[in-house]
Amino acid sequence: MKISRVAEILEAKVLTGGDLLDCEVNSACGSDMMSDVLAYVKDQGILLTGLMNVQVIRTLLMMDMNCVVFVRGKVPAAGIVDFAEENGVAVLQTDLPMFESCGRLYAAGLGRADLESGPEREEV
């Protein structure tokens, strides 16, 4: 699934990383605990989180993830967005809560190898 499609499904604003919207991601991870992301993430491209600090972006960099979605309508400080931009990380922001955000993406086939056969999926 392309990051642009993720933004569409989550009705998210793209705060930075417009040039990454065509990147494909295979799966996502939802967590507010960065140590868990470091422990368990395999090759998910996207992190959904309600945590707002620069360590979120560093965690993404460590895990080679290229997109973060800030959920629950929280707006990240400019410093966080700037740091993401400098390091080639796309930042999306949605008003949806974590549960619904993950649910929508999962229902649309993200992270489900059985459903997502082609590079681009249309409506389920």
């Binding site: 507010d32 140590s35 470091l38 989180t49 600090n53 360590q55 560093r58 460590m62």
Partner: protein
């Protein structure tokens, strides 16, 4: 064994926002050196957790990276409070981090376990009231 490359970083303990800088720099260096991506990932995660620990618990310290043809060693040295019970600290979920650190996304008791998980060898030398030195070893030939 040929030359050893050595990089030194000061881990600034004054600001949580700065924690992880050395790891980000090291990751860039390793990429430039052409180290395998899975090894870079492991080193990045382990070093990052170590750096966070140094900032949370020990007011920062020194991070040194040694690279030879077949081995990478990361040495994280602080003069913090030391670890009272290493065995306990190695258990997933065990943490002595204050609540405000948990609110920042860390301090869930995954730091040392993650460092062990993401290294070939981990050696902890710690003394209460003196400090802690952790060595992370990576054998490059083993991991392709």
């Amino acid at each position: 064994m040929s030359d050893t490359l050595h990089y030194h970083f000061d881990v600034d303990g004054a600001s949580f926002a700065n924690a992880g800088r050395a790891s980000v720099e090291t990751k860039k260096l390793l990429r430039q050196l052409g180290v395998a991506p899975n090894v870079i990932r492991s080193i990045s995660v382990a070093m990052y957790e170590g750096e966070i620990n140094m900032v949370i618990h020990a007011h920062g310290g020194d991070a040194d990276v040694y690279i030879t043809e077949d081995t990478i060693i990361i040495i994280l040295k602080d003069e913090g409070p030391g670890i009272r019970n290493v065995e306990e600290a190695m258990k997933e979920g065990f943490s002595t981090a204050p609540e405000n650190i948990r609110a920042l996304g860390f301090g869930a008791g995954m730091g040392l376990p993650n460092m062990k998980r993401y290294s070939d060898e981990m050696h902890i030398d710690t003394k209460v009231g003196v400090g802690t030195t952790i060595e992370l070893w990576y054998h490059l030939n083993k991991q392709q």
